[in-house]
């Protein structure tokens, strides 16, 4: 008999006119790991919420969720509370916000023990320490009295797992448990989950958008699209021989192909020597503390048509370097030369006319587009500064052209940013840079917030634009698969310093440095890793 059994599970939001889940059938046996895969909006998180009775009050649920023979949807709250947290553990994505910021970690881990097992404060504390050891948090005794904001992202996620496991549940539901974490931390958390599952005999429902993780952890995989189950089967078989076109589409979404080399005679667009970024240290009384070096002495040379991929974990200085190259970082030192001009010596006013040549595209496409301007106005805004003689009609015509260039419908330029999807917003951000005909574009994590299939299209677009205009790219990303598909050379940063650099194939397939090897292994790249 299966431990968790969904039959015809349907979740509707009548007010919004949305059907989030449509007649889902799914079974999970004791001790089994099932991956539930889908892109954003596929309804995969709704499964976890519906099973745990955590859907918002507007949601209408029908169908059945049976856990170990008990129909969960029929239970009242006290009865449900005897199961959730005790027999079913739940781990959410947001390690930043999923813990209560006002209570110590020790208090929070002890909560389920005190509620379900009636442990005394003392006994719950002792068990909390054991759990911290179990999930691999070093120095458990002192970390128990820490608050969530004093822990790293990885540690917070371990604490979440410890809370979920406190009462030795039969089933652990993990909803994107590694998504917000660095790749190396991601690999550690995955290994921890796999290990705990074996040691404790857990069944694991692993919900993710990332197929690469699935292969490493799940025996069976179910693919969800638009609230429907499109395919389910053993993971190996699903990867080898996908049946449904949706599965094939997801599998093909891994960025593929390599960057074609650029002739050595191409003109140098960007040259940087000894670029450093030093932020002032925390203030102590009235004096500034010792400065914190975010970037330390980085050199790079980039020719027209070339792409340099800058990779590293969060805090490695990738974004600071990007801002320093664009002269957007007041704390930067070192020499930056764009084409034949030394930018270092120029002040704001002297830089302004040159800025047209080197443009940024930032990560968060929602945050970097003004919500009060139409998409067309946003895209054309740079022309007001750099081509002041153009009138409104001419600017609008250029905007329409830029929309076509990034394959957006020009008619959509009268709409506001919130009416666009994540991928479309990223196209807007690219169009905003392209309308100025730059020679250099610094792209800071332009694909990180996007689903894999959308990512694939953006990668293709960036490639085409580069080929058409001979653009030079500085491509900043923590995603090695995308970097590999786009870059000529790769620069690996750690704590602001260069760890390794070289041609893409060499760095990602035959890394010299241990740190690069760890990054590559954690990313689980296809091809390169398989051959190694």
């Amino acid at each position: 008999m299966s431990l968790l059994s969904l039959r015809g599970l349907t979740v509707r939001y009548p007010q919004a006119g949305v059907t989030a889940l449509d007649g889902l059938d799914l079974d999970l046996a004791r001790g089994e790991t099932l991956a539930l895969v889908g892109e954003s909006g596929s309804g995969k998180s709704q499964v976890a919420l519906a099973a745990m009775g955590l859907l918002p009050p507007q949601a209408r649920v029908s169908g059945s969720v049976r856990f170990d023979g008990t129909e969960l949807t029929a239970l009242d709250r006290p009865a449900l509370d005897r199961i959730r947290g005790a027999r079913i553990g739940l781990v959410f994505q947001e390690p930043m916000t999923a813990l209560d910021p006002l209570f110590t970690v020790g208090h929070q881990i002890a909560l389920p023990l005190r509620a379900h097992r009636s442990f005394s404060r003392r006994r719950a504390g002792a068990r909390a320490r054991e759990l911290m050891d179990l999930v691999g948090i070093r120095d458990a005794a002192s970390r128990l009295s820490a608050y969530p904001h004093e822990l790293s992202g990885g540690e917070r996620q371990r604490v979440m797992i410890a809370m979920a496991l406190a009462c030795e549940p039969d089933l652990l539901i993990a909803d994107e448990p590694t998504t917000a974490l660095d790749v190396t931390v991601q690999a550690q958390i995955l290994a921890l989950l796999a290990d705990l599952k074996d040691r404790l005999g857990l069944a694991l429902l692993f919900i993710t958008h990332d197929l690469r993780l699935v292969r490493r952890i799940a025996e069976r995989t179910a693919v969800l699209r638009a609230g429907r189950l499109v395919e389910t089967g053993p993971t190996a078989r699903l990867f080898r021989d996908p049946q449904a076109p949706e599965t094939r589409d997801l599998l093909a979404a891994e960025p593929t192909g390599r960057k074609a080399p650029v002739p050595a005679s191409a003109p140098v667009v960007l040259e940087a020597r000894g670029v450093s970024v030093a932020y002032p240290g925390p203030r102590r009384w009235l004096r500034a503390g010792p400065p914190r070096l975010a970037v330390e002495g980085v050199d790079l040379t980039l020719r027209a048509g070339q792409t340099i991929g800058v990779v590293g974990e969060s805090g490695s200085g990738k974004s600071s370097l990007g801002r320093a190259l664009l002269r957007l970082e007041p704390a930067a030192h070192g020499l930056v030369r764009f084409e034949d001009r030394d930018l270092t010596a120029l002040d704001r006013t002297a830089l302004r006319p040159l800025r047209r040549g080197f443009q940024p595209v930032f990560q968060d496409p929602m945050g970097s587009l003004s919500p009060r301007l139409t998409a067309g106005e946003i895209v054309a805004e740079g022309l007001r500064v750099h081509a002041p003689r153009l009138d409104a009609a001419a600017r609008d015509a250029r905007a329409a052209e830029a929309f076509r260039e990034v394959r957006l419908d020009p008619a959509s330029r009268h709409r506001f940013p919130h009416a666009f999807s994540g991928g479309q917003r990223q196209r807007l951000a690219i169009a905003r840079a392209m309308i100025l005909r730059p020679r250099l574009v610094v792209l800071d994590e332009p694909t990180s917030a996007l689903d894999r299939t959308v990512q694939r299209d953006i990668v293709a677009l960036l490639r085409d634009l580069q080929a058409a205009h001979g653009l030079a790219y500085v491509f900043i990303s923590h995603d090695l698969a995308v970097v590999r598909a786009l870059s000529d050379t790769v620069l690996v940063l750690r704590n602001g310093r260069e760890v390794e650099r070289g041609p893409t194939d060499q760095v990602l397939e035959r890394p010299r440095e241990a740190y690069t090897r760890a990054l590559v292994a954690a990313a689980g790249l296809e091809g390169g890793l398989a051959q190694a």
Binding site: R82, G85, L99, L102
Partner: protein, 307 residues
């Protein structure tokens, strides 16, 4: 922590200095003086009075003398209430004002958080709308309208409670003034508590806690602590306002508190009384804000880096 408190207290000295200086020269800008009567005093008597109270000196000298006295904790003699110092006036009035204000604060806190919590738990239901509507009403109708209505209803028609007077703080005499003072505060606190709770309910960590199957008792602890910050930070200045008395309530109910001193002092050009009231209110505001900040740091560990 102790260093932080001491530093905050030290920081309030310049604030107090600026407040006192501005007020000192502002009251002197008003035409007339403390001894101008409808029938003018004989010139010699006037001269005498002015010399006794030091008003014949240049303004800057008077200012210096006032600051020096203030530094010793001496608020000076009252100009309008003969034979009493400002400090003695406060000693009589403060217990009255603080009793009323303290009770009003207590009532507002209990009712406000209770209604706010009910509202947040029944978000969008009729109870929520009712609390919001009544709250707007309580906030917008001024005390000088509420107080007479209460007097008419409970004093004159029903004859349950006296319409005014202090009577050594007899509980019957306290009810109507306390209700008048508390009403708008109930509304503000209910609104803040509701908003705070709703915010907690929308946070991802709330889903985590519910997913742990915790009993309502433990969930309530987390909700209350999470929602407490805006209420506590509001309570600092609100308490300062309530405890230093209300002109309207003390006038309408005929109560001998300190709230009236401010207006009476200003009308009578009782310079020392006006300045004394300013100092009193400023000290209450500074101290109670410090207390509120410390309470916030106690609630939220992220505020504990006392920089």
């Amino acid at each position: 922590m102790t260093a932080y408190i001491l530093r905050r207290l030290a920081q309030s000295v310049p604030t107090l200095f600026i407040v006192v200086t501005l007020s000192f020269f502002l009251v002197r800008l008003a035409p007339g003086g403390p001894f101008d009567l409808e029938r003018p005093l004989p010139a010699a008597a006037m001269e005498n009075l002015r010399r006794v109270y030091g008003l014949d000196q240049p303004l800057l000298v008077q200012y210096g003398r006032y600051l020096a006295a203030l530094a010793r904790g001496d608020l000076g003699p009252s100009f309008s209430v003969r034979d009493l110092s400002v400090a003695e006036l406060f000693a009589r009035g403060l217990p009255v004002s603080m009793t009323l204000g303290g009770l009003a604060l207590l009532v507002a806190l209990v009712l406000g958080t209770g209604l706010g919590a009910l509202s947040a738990l029944r978000r969008g239901a009729w109870l929520d709308h009712a609390v919001t509507t009544l709250g707007t009403f309580a906030l917008t109708v001024p005390g000088f309208v509420v107080a007479p209505l209460l007097q008419i209803a409970f004093g004159l028609s029903l004859r349950w409670l006296p319409v005014g007077g202090w009577d050594d703080g007899a509980p019957r005499n306290l009810v109507l003034p306390v209700v008048t003072l508390a009403l708008p505060q109930v509304a503000v606190i209910a609104r803040l508590a509701r908003a705070g709770l709703v915010e907690v309910f929308d946070r991802p960590h709330w889903r985590t806690l519910r997913g742990l199957g915790l009993p309502p008792r433990i969930l309530a602890l987390h909700a209350v602590r999470g929602a407490a910050l805006p209420v506590v930070s509001y309570l600092g200045p609100a308490a300062a306002g309530l405890l230093t008395g209300s002109v309207v309530v003390e006038t309408v109910f005929g109560l001998p508190g300190v709230g009236r001193y401010f207006v009476d002092g200003a009308i009578n050009r009782d310079y020392t009384l006006v300045l004394g009231t300013v100092v009193l209110i400023a000290v209450f505001v500074l101290v109670l804000n410090l207390v509120a900040d410390l309470a916030c740091a106690l609630i939220d560990p992220r505020l504990r880096e006392f920089g």
